[in-house]
Amino acid sequence: MDRHLPTPAERFIRGILPENPVLRQVLGICPTLAVTNTMEGAITMAGAVLFVLTCANVLVSLLRPLLKPHLRILVFTLTIATFVTIADRFLAAYMYDMSKQLGPYIPLIIVNCIIIARCEVCGSKQSVPAAFLDAVGQSLGFALALGAIATVREVLGFGTWFGRWLGIRLLPATLSDRVWAPWTVMILPPGAFLTLALLLGAVNWAGARLQKAEVSR
């Protein structure tokens, strides 16, 4: 059954860059745009996705002999919703301020396409090791993309990284009193769109160059 499917190691490697959920599959764009104005928010989101995706993918893989084609989506959704609720309650108990900052975006992981896509593509078809490594690889890819965008936005917008002051602010608010102000647009939603667009462009450009180099070789 696993004949034509990638091996566990291939699943792991593919999730990080070649099939990066945000940069190559363009999935999970809602949290990518919404929680990337600080590194702390982005990494907390990535951690929650790692937990939910790993648990859901492994459980779906264990249940795969029992899945009926017409009921599989229902089983995926139930599984995902359960682990998301656990993650949400955990954050409210142990990371209260972060839980308030992320607000509804943690419960919204339930509708994050990355997770249901992995359950469909890998969890429901492959063994537990493949499902586990696939989940970890995809989550690392998600963390990488969120971290890259959040780094650009937080450094340019607040002049901080993980909340730590770096000593730079990019735009002068008023030249007269030489106060260096935050670059507000990077903190607000447009900053997320601009950063994501430039990053996607750069990844596509690099991908095209690599392909060209391989063809000419």
Partner: protein, 188 residues
């Protein structure tokens, strides 16, 4: 056939029950900690909700918590009433600050909400909440779309009428509760 369909769905039924039970266990295990976090948050908000207050004293009246806001000398300066109700997406929990005789609102703070990002969650913004400050508590507050024209009117958040009305209804209920308890003499 109906029996055939039920047999197909057994996995979903079993999973739903197992997941429900495990969520109940998680909730039971984490609830004390979450409640403690909310209590800390409430206590730290008391000075912002009632002018002149330095701390809150927790009371339980009719099985519901209530906070006496007192100044440095221990004199009563107002009340903080925790209240909740159904919002657009999920329950909204708020803290309502009132003066000592419950004649005027002195503050509003949103403790927990899961309203639509960018629309309903604007009820947590200070700019919207400040319109409650100084409002008389009689007659009850009413939401108006557009510009408020009477002292008891609250301007709805654009694109979030239901969230605005929910918060306002929760505030009105909290005010009613405190006024009733003050009138009944159960509070000093």
């Amino acid at each position: 056939m109906n029996t055939h369909r039920l047999a197909d769905a057994w996995l979903v039924l079993v999973l739903a029950m197992a997941f429900g039970a495990s969520l109940a266990a998680v909730h039971a295990a984490l609830k004390p900690r979450i409640d403690a976090n909310k209590l800390n948050d409430t206590m730290s908000q008391v000075p912002m909700l009632v002018p002149g207050a330095t701390r809150g004293e927790r009371l339980v009246v009719a099985d519901a918590p209530l906070y006496r806001a007192v100044d440095a000398a221990g004199m009563l300066v107002g009340w903080v009433v925790p209240a909740s109700g159904q919002g657009f997406a999920d329950r909204i929990e708020v803290l309502v600050g009132l003066d000592a005789r419950a004649h005027r609102l002195t503050g509003l703070y949103v403790l927990d909400q899961k309203e639509t990002p960018g629309l309903g969650d604007n009820v947590t913004r200070e700019g919207w909440r400040t319109q409650f400050v100084g409002k008389p508590t009689d007659p009850p507050l009413q939401v108006r779309k557009g510009t408020a024209q009477a002292p008891h009117e609250i301007e709805a958040v654009t694109g979030a009428t239901i969230s605005s009305e929910s918060v306002t209804a929760i505030v009105n209920a909290a005010v009613r509760r405190l006024r009733e308890q003050l009138a009944a003499g159960t509070l000093r």
